[in-house]
């Protein structure tokens, strides 16, 4: 199944099961079916539950906050994740505040879906990964499933069981890819293991060539970078005999660090990889948490890789130089050992 199909099917089932579930966003209606075709077919099946709106991100998210406070289950689609900046006030000062500041008298079960990431030549305002901007926002959960997750089931979990706002990040390059959720991948040589869950809607994955052996380096990443990390790990093993494991998070805020601490301790050190800006990014927070909890088990310093501190160029050739690539990961891992 493709990543986009998994989410589309989940949305279908959610609306079918519960008439209080509505999908709200721009250009969702058939035959167009949303800018990334995630809502294809849904407005035909559920004409009352799919609500195409004007280009008013703040009001859309704000209205869905109101719907959620009255017991509905709204899911908002932000067409490009970059437009989330237009909803920041609603997320920071409204959606994530009401439950707490009203002393838990109300819930805001709202899911905001936002496609993030580059690699398609969309340029500086349509290619960013802005989720790390929301790391300090108390009361917000951020999910960002990769192709090694079933994004539809994680979305369903958020819609059905979460009582508080969730920012659900979908990587644009993942949409047309097959999800890989079997125990053995890549013709059988990659083992995929779900790490012990501490919370139902979080699913942290370990990918490893030799799961019983301790790796030299563990890469910790999420979203669209997961596949790039895997390709780098394969190159590092088959060309340089460096064993690299990969931890792939589905929930990046709060960081479910307890789920993968033991995997970090098995390695000599870790490389934290994200597509967003490295400066001020998610990885800085994670690195700090790792230093605070397992400093003694690290043989060498943690390294981080993220986008350069630059806007994302439109030119697909220039873009490659800004966003982390397989080559940059390989180079960074090698440099950690020398």
């Amino acid at each position: 199944m493709l990543y986009v199909e998994s989410i589309n099917n989940a949305l279908y089932n959610l609306m079918d099961l519960d008439s209080d579930v509505v999908l709200v966003g721009e250009d969702l209606h058939d035959p167009y079916g949303g800018a990334f075709k995630v809502s294809k077919g849904l407005s035909t099946s559920f004409p009352n539950q799919v609500i195409s709106t004007p280009i008013s991100e703040q009001a859309i998210v704000g209205a869905c906050v109101g719907m959620a406070m009255r017991g509905m289950k709204p899911i908002v689609e932000i067409m490009f994740g970059d437009f989330i900046t237009l909803c920041v006030d609603q997320i920071v000062n409204h959606a994530t505040k009401y439950h707490w500041m009203y002393n838990e008298q109300v819930n805001v079960p709202l899911v905001i879906r936002a496609p993030m990431g580059g690699g398609r030549g969309y340029g500086p305002t349509h290619s960013q990964s802005l989720e790390s901007m929301f790391m300090p926002v108390s009361g917000l959960k951020i999910c960002a499933p990769s192709i090694f997750h079933d994004p539809g089931s994680l979305l369903s979990e958020c819609v059905i069981n979460e009582n508080h706002p969730v920012l659900f990040i979908e990587n644009k390059l993942s949409y047309p890819k097959k999800i890989q959720i079997e125990e053995k991948l890549n013709g059988g040589n990659i083992h995929r293991k779900v790490l012990e869950k501490k919370n139902n809607s979080s699913e942290t994955i370990l990918l490893s060539l030799y799961p019983d052996e301790n790796p030299e380096i563990v890469i910790i990443t999420y979203g669209g970078m997961a596949e790039t990390a895997l390709n780098a790990a394969l190159d590092l093993f088959f060309e340089d005999e460096i064993l690299v494991n990969i931890i792939i998070l589905s929930v990046i805020r709060p960081i479910p660090i307890k789920e993968f601490l033991s995997e970090i301790k098995r390695a000599e050190s870790c490389l934290i990889l994200e597509e967003g800006n490295k400066l001020g990014g998610w990885g800085g927070e994670l690195a700090s948490q790792i230093y605070e909890t397992c400093f003694n088990s690290l043989v060498m310093p943690i390294q981080r890789l993220g986008s350069d501190d630059s806007p994302i160029p439109s030119s697909i050739y220039l873009e490659k130089n800004v966003i982390p690539s397989k080559e940059k990961i390989v180079k960074t891992v090698k440099s950690m050992r020398s």
């Binding site: 704000g62 959620a68 009401y98 008298q105």
Partner: protein, 295 residues
């Protein structure tokens, strides 16, 4: 339409005493943070909210005490909230401008509450409930873009949202004349929202007006925009008032409480005022003495 002057006066004087006492408590150093008093605008809250059912929603702004008292009639939970006590409406977490109880909500971000109220009205319509949502905004809110996004959607979706714009002539310290181009009422008209404008603090005009609007909304389920030109007699917050004294004196002659003298005897007014004051004093003493508990 029969106008319950006694009940309305009781609410109006409760708001007046409550708000002015808050300013005293601030000057005595007994409160922290900030507050925005509703003195001078009481007629708007009581004339509109008195027509609502318990199930109807009120969404208010930073200047929310009057709306809260009119809807919930519970000064004890409000004072405790402002004093930071566990027994407050929100356990002390919200304070003066972030209040919720039953179907009342307020938040202190200009423009941010309008989309929320819009979504609530959508939910009521979606579930075919007979309830309406009333949102109170001010002239200052008109500077925020979300106001226009929300009015467009309210009209497009045809939801039972009553937008009450209390033009108290000032956005904090800046006069509406320096802030606002064009006419306020034209903003609602341009989105095809039914609208009306009045300039009065007289409950004998405002109460029947809101009664008609709310009755009609319950029939047609469509949005309505009511502009009330009024005046904030007190400063924006706790002090720092730079307005022309002549202007303030002009509006003091149009104080909403004065109009009650046309409909209630001096004796009745005094009796109600005395009872309300006595009750408030008891509440204040009780609340002051409450110890804070940490969870």
């Amino acid at each position: 339409m029969e106008i319950p002057y006694r009940e309305l006066y009781k609410k109006a004087i409760l708001i007046r005493f409550f708000e002015n006492r808050l300013l005293e408590l601030f000057s005595e150093g007994k409160l922290f943070g900030t507050t925005h008093t509703y003195v001078g605008q009481e007629a708007v809250a009581i004339s509109s909210i008195s027509h609502l059912k318990k199930e109807d929603v009120v969404f208010s702004n930073h200047r929310c005490h009057g709306h809260y008292l009119a809807k919930e009639n519970d000064p004890k939970s409000l004072l405790a909230e402002i004093m930071g006590k566990n027994s407050g409406a929100c356990g002390g977490r919200g304070g003066s401008q972030h209040i919720s109880r039953n179907n009342f909500f307020s938040n202190g971000i200009q423009g941010g509450i309008l989309p929320n109220a819009l979504g609530m009205a959508f939910a009521e319509k979606f579930r075919r409930s007979p309830n309406i949502v009333v949102v109170f905004i001010g002239d200052g809110t008109l500077g925020e873009g979300s106001t226009y996004e929300s009015m467009n959607l309210a009209s497009l979706w045809k939801v039972p949202l009553l937008i009450v714009l209390e033009n108290n002539q000032y956005a904090q310290t800046t006069s509406v004349n320096d802030n606002l181009a064009g006419e306020i009422i034209d903003r609602a008209k341009s989105f095809g929202i039914k609208s009306n404008e009045v300039k009065t603090n007289d409950v004998s005009e405002l109460y029947p007006l809101f009664g008609r609007i709310i009755n009609n909304m319950r029939q047609d389920g469509e949005p309505f925009f009511q502009l009330v030109n009024t005046y904030r007699i007190n400063a924006h917050s706790k002090g720092d008032d730079f307005r022309d004294k002549k202007e303030i004196d002009f509006w003091k002659k149009k104080d909403p409480l004065i109009y009650f003298k046309n409909f209630l005897s001096e004796q009745e007014i005094n009796k109600i005022s005395k009872d309300v004051m006595k009750n408030l004093k008891e509440i204040e003493k009780e609340t002051k003495d409450t110890q804070i508990k940490f969870k």
